[in-house]
């Protein structure tokens, strides 16, 4: 019953988020800087924040039998959806008004992913190890900041395209300045880099301490580790783009988008690839699979 309620709530939130996304997208058109539309969009995003937060708390306190905030993949997605929607609202106030155009579709994808994770591929996490809790938390929060960086990257490319085609801002003023978007991108990449570093270190500890995955077993060149390392490298470049000036501007924006895509590919590699080496598969299962008593009957 509780899973059905979660799914229904997620469907409603996804619908609200997509409606907010459509309204945000409509603002791209010429002369469509309607204040009332913007207010509706903010209200819908606010409802998404509140709804996702309440659902996350409900699942953490009641559904997962005690205070277990990250009991399953859906909880992780709910956590970052809440924080991401809150970040969208916060950034709107900081004169980067155009971010919602690119961030709200990502929020919709997150929530829709939550529906799938709850209704079709539900699998509770093993949270008995503290390392695992840290790993999961840093991975999900890292994903959150990479989503912000990617949305900022897309916004940067959009604003730059408008400038190169000499298109003026709409009547309500510019969507954002390249400078402010670049700053947001760098901050998000820096935070994402720190969180991803924690995730890699805790992942390393988990892998090396697992019974069947000792160092030397070839796990380090697995798709998951290679992709995670690539994302880590990308975030390192983006956060230092003011010094690594070759990547400054549009290149950093593209790198942020590529970083998110690679991070999502890392999730896919960790959860969906069927034919991993035996010892690696065991290691990944240790990370992402739950103990038998936590599995849903």
């Amino acid at each position: 019953m509780a899973e059905i309620a979660t799914t229904i709530c997620l469907i409603v939130l996804t619908a609200l988020s997509s409606a907010a996304g459509v309204l945000a997208f409509a603002r791209l058109g010429p002369g469509s800087a309607s204040r009332s539309l913007r207010k509706i969009q903010y209200s819908l995003t606010g409802i998404c924040v509140t709804g996702a937060a309440l659902l996350f708390l409900y699942r953490a306190v009641y559904f997962n039998e005690g205070w277990r905030p990250l009991g399953a993949h859906v909880d992780g997605l709910l956590l970052i959806s809440t924080l991401f929607a809150a970040a969208i609202l916060f950034v709107q106030r900081a004169a980067i008004r155009g971010l919602s155009v690119f961030a709200l579709p990502l929020l919709t994808i997150m929530l829709a992913w939550g529906i799938c994770a709850n209704a079709f591929t539900y699998e509770p996490f093993d949270t008995r190890s503290m390392w695992m809790v840290f790993h999961q938390a840093s991975v999900y929060l890292g994903l959150l900041f990479f989503c912000i960086a990617a949305a900022a990257g897309a916004l940067y490319l959009f604003v730059q395209h408008r400038l190169h085609t000499h298109r003026p801002s709409d009547g309500a003023g510019p969507m954002a300045s390249l400078e402010s978007v670049e700053r947001l991108n760098i901050r998000a990449a820096t935070t994402g880099f720190a969180l991803l570093t924690v995730a890699l270190i805790t992942g390393l500890i988990i892998q090396t301490s697992a019974q069947h995955t000792r160092l030397g077993g070839g796990w380090w060149y697995s798709p998951k580790v290679m992709l995670a390392a690539a994302v880590w490298l990308i975030s390192a470049i983006v956060m230092n783009v003011r010094f690594a000036t070759t990547f400054r501007g549009a290149r950093a924006a593209w790198l942020s988008i590529a970083g998110l895509i690679l991070l999502l590919a890392t999730f896919v590699a960790a959860n969906a690839l069927p034919d991993l080496p035996r010892e690696l598969d065991d290691g990944l299962r240790t990370v992402h699979a739950g103990a038998p008593e936590n599995r849903r009957e």
């Binding site: 604003v159 400038l163 000499h166 003026p168 801002s169 009547g171 300045s177 390249l178 700053r183 501007g249």
Partner: protein, 464 residues
């Protein structure tokens, strides 16, 4: 009658507008001199950076005329009369009121729908009101202009556009940079449009604003004209251009060079030295100062005059509906305002006329009563008849004495038409033998004599 004489950014060059700037002591002096010369007038002087306009309300057929105002201004400001005549605009009555309403609403501004001009008009009106030179007519017109401008802004989207090259440049700068207090603006060359655009950029309060010109004096003059604070920049030698381009975040070029001063090759080296910091280049020069291929370089945002003008015209096209809407609101407000002004004027006139006639009547009444006290009863009829004759002559004396045919400047035909209209006098010449009969009956009655012509009426008047 309402009269407007003035110059604005469309009709006069900046130098002439600067000469006609009426501020501070000059404004006091102009008000004083106008008061001495044309005491029986209401007057408001509106002065902004783009316009100097005099609004005058005066009785019809009394000075000043537009020519007299131009004569006065050219003498006072030391401007060539012919040049001022050519650059000035002159509006009367409804057109003058409509012009004021358009100015207040920002429809006549360089930046369509700008709000600053409304505050300037309000201050000009309050200043004139404080000097006691605003009467019922200009009071009504300015009050209505201000309230209508507010209504127009509230009901239309006229102030949401950006329609000058400078403001468009600022709009693009805001899409590139978030803050400007750590940015450097470099102006290269001179020119009217560059000056206006630099004023807009100066309004962003950049950390530094440097001006480079092959002629240092021109750079200094430019710095003065845009009101640049010496602590925040000033003229720099043209030889420093390479270093300036490395320091700059925003570059505005407007030189008369015949070949580009910023080539793609130079810019490539420049961007390396700048560590790929974004560079916003505004090229207002013709021929262009910056090679077009510079615009396709990474982190360089190049806008030339055509690019900016296209945005300006595009904005005007987008605003066309709003302008039309504004104009219809203004037309309605002008019509209502003028009706109220005329109604109020007519009301006061009628009141004055009544008072004047009652005054005459009272004097004659006293005179007649004194005569009746000492007269025999049989003379009473004669005294009353004399009373009527004297009163009529007194009433008609002033209007008819204004119709002296020897006065070549008098608008006789206008007065004659007014008299015919007001007193229902027939236009046909009087029939022989009927000229001396009074026209006391209504027109169209064949038994009633035709009224006297104005010249005849003149002959009947006279002092006792």
């Amino acid at each position: 009658m309402i009269l407007m004489i003035g110059v604005n950014h469309r009709t006069a060059r900046l130098e002439l507008r600067e000469q006609l700037a009426l501020e501070g002591d000059r404004l006091d002096a102009v008000y004083e001199r106008l008061g001495q010369m044309f005491a029986d007038t209401e007057r408001v002087i509106v002065h902004t950076c783009n316009r100097t306009e005099l609004y005058i309300a005066r009785p019809a057929y009394t000075p000043p005329t537009a020519e007299q105002i131009i004569e006065f201004l050219s003498g006072f400001c030391g401007v060539d009369r012919a040049a001022l005549q050519a650059a000035s605009i002159h509006r009367e009555n409804e057109q003058a009121v409509e012009h004021l309403f358009r100015v207040a609403a920002g429809l006549d501004s360089m930046v369509l729908g700008e709000t600053q001009v409304l505050g300037q008009i309000k201050r000009a009106y309050e200043d004139a009101h404080g000097r006691g030179v605003v009467g019922a007519v200009l009071h009504k017109i300015f009050q209505t202009a201000i309230s209508t401008a507010r209504r127009v802004r509230h009901e239309t989207g006229i102030d949401s556009g950006r329609v000058s090259v400078g403001s468009v440049a600022v709009d693009f700068a805001r899409q590139i940079f978030d803050r400007f207090d750590d940015k450097t603006v470099v102006g290269i060359g001179a020119g009217e449009m560059a000056k206006l655009t630099l004023r807009h950029l100066e309004g962003l309060s950049p950390e530094k604003l440097w001006l480079a010109n092959r002629t240092p004096q021109r750079a200094e003059a430019m710095a003065r004209s845009i009101g640049l604070d010496a602590s925040r920049g000033g003229p720099r030698a043209f030889d420093d251009l390479g270093q300036l381009l490395i320091e700059a975040d925003i570059v505005l070029t407007s030189t008369s060079a015949t070949s580009p001063i910023i080539t793609a090759q130079r810019c490539r080296l420049l961007m390396r030295s700048r560590r790929n910091r974004p560079l916003f280049i505004i090229d207002l020069a013709l021929p262009r100062d910056v090679e077009p291929s510079v615009g396709s370089m990474r982190n360089v945002y190049l806008f030339n005059l055509d690019d900016l003008q296209r945005v300006v015209s595009g904005t005007y096209a987008q605003q066309a509906d709003e302008v039309e809407h504004c104009q219809s609101l203004l037309n309605e407000a002008v019509s209502v305002c003028l009706h109220e002004v005329r109604h109020r004027d007519a009301g006061q006139l009628i009141k004055q006329l009544r008072e004047r006639l009652h005054e005459m009547g009272a004097i004659e009444q006293q005179r007649t009563l004194r005569k009746l006290e000492v007269a025999e009863p049989r003379d009473a009829a004669k005294i009353v008849e004399e009373h009527s004759r004297r009163l009529i002559n007194k009433i008609l004396h002033l209007p008819l004495s204004a119709m002296d045919p020897r006065d070549r400047g008098a608008p006789l035909s206008f007065y004659a038409a007014a008299l015919r209209k007001l007193f229902h006098l027939d236009e046909r010449p009087p029939q022989q033998g009927q000229a001396d009969k009074p026209s006391t009956e209504s027109r169209g009655d064949p038994n009633v004599a035709a009224p006297k012509r104005t010249d005849d009426l003149k002959m009947t008047t006279g002092r006792d």
